[in-house]
């Protein structure tokens, strides 16, 4: 909710290439979404996981236990600060939103990506310590280099099944059950908002981003 486009994005490039920008309702950083991205979201009532306090770190720690079951140590998987990493390279970024009786923990997994797209992102001013000022090319890695996509998806479903009873629901059934009163908080930024972000950029930031 506090993220500013001018601090997170190379806005001129984003506008030039007409990249859609979505502001999420949840916390966390900025991610590139492409055809390879895998999203996993846990939307839970506050009592869904017995004994789990509905705060960022407990939820984050619980999620890492679930993914421990998926990777079984492969690739030196771990939760590092708030990222999923293989060794010291990030492959999964997390975001959460916690309300009175529910929480969501969602992850965008870097299955495969075009490094060119990463140039739309600035190195964030608020970065985890383990990043050690590395640029995107050295900081992130592709999951496809470690395991097949189907193995990750099936492994995640299996791990979720050890925590919850699972029921498969077709996507169109989810869409048709959406409440007509539901107003999503996530939204696309307008061209005007992105252009205003360029206008708001002070000289010092401009020179750093070049």
């Amino acid at each position: 909710i506090s993220g500013k486009a001018r601090e997170l994005l190379e806005v001129k490039s984003v506008l030039r290439d007409k990249i859609p920008v979505i502001r999420r309702f949840s916390g966390g950083g900025t991610v590139i979404v492409d055809q390879g991205t895998v999203f996993v979201s846990f939307i839970c009532n506050k009592d869904a996981v017995p004994g789990l306090q509905p705060y960022p770190q407990p939820i984050m720690a619980w999620s890492s236990l679930l993914y421990d079951e998926v990777f079984c140590g492969a690739g030196d998987f771990r939760l590092r600060e708030n990222d999923y990493v293989f060794g010291n390279q990030k492959f999964g970024g997390n975001a959460q939103s916690i309300i009175k009786n529910r929480w969501i923990h969602h992850t965008s997994f870097l299955w495969d990506y075009d490094m060119v797209n990463m140039t739309y992102l600035k190195v964030p001013t608020r970065a985890p310590k383990y990043r050690m000022e590395r640029d995107h090319s050295e900081f992130i890695c592709r999951m496809k280099d470690l395991l097949p996509r189907s193995a990750f998806i099936e492994g995640t479903i299996k791990a979720a099944g050890t925590h919850f009873l699972l029921r498969f629901v077709p996507c169109d059934a989810i869409e048709s059950s959406a409440s007509a009163n539901f107003m999503p908080l996530s939204r696309m930024l307008t061209r005007q908002e992105l252009e205003a972000a360029i206008d708001a950029e002070p000289e010092s930031l401009l020179s750093q981003s070049l």
Binding site: I1, S2, F25, S26, G27, G28, G29, Q53, Y55, P56, Q57, P58, I59, M60, N82, N94, A95, Q96, S97, I98, I99, K100, R126
Partner: protein, 112 residues
């Protein structure tokens, strides 16, 4: 009821009047919700914050979204949010009323 929204550290500043009770720290004159907001009612106005327990568990707070003065709030409903590194967390009002003041120091010092 007129509401003042204050930094949660106000709770710790009142510790001189604490009555320690087992492992819980309960400050006299404060009421608490089960979602870890506190409220101090004085006449027709109330001051609201989040507890040290909540703030400790939220981690590094990077931004606090506060309502505009004059906003009506309802008991139990969210009126603002606290953003930590990876999460946004709603702050719920323990009472119903109208916001008269917010702690603008949180704009520059969200971890206050």
């Amino acid at each position: 009821m007129a509401l003042r929204l204050w930094a949660s550290r106000a709770a710790s500043q009142l510790r001189s009047s604490l009555h320690l009770r087992g492992y819980a720290t309960v400050i006299q004159d404060l009421k608490y919700t089960d979602s870890h907001e506190w409220v101090k009612v004085e006449g027709n106005s109330a001051t609201i914050g989040i507890t040290d327990h909540a703030q400790d568990h939220l981690g590094d707070v990077v931004y606090v979204e506060l309502p505009e003065e004059g906003t009506a709030v309802s008991q139990g409903s969210a009126f603002g949010a606290v953003e930590s590194v990876k999460a946004t967390s709603d702050v719920n009002s323990p009472v119903s009323g109208t916001v008269t003041h917010v702690n603008r120091e949180l704009d520059g010092s969200p971890a206050l």
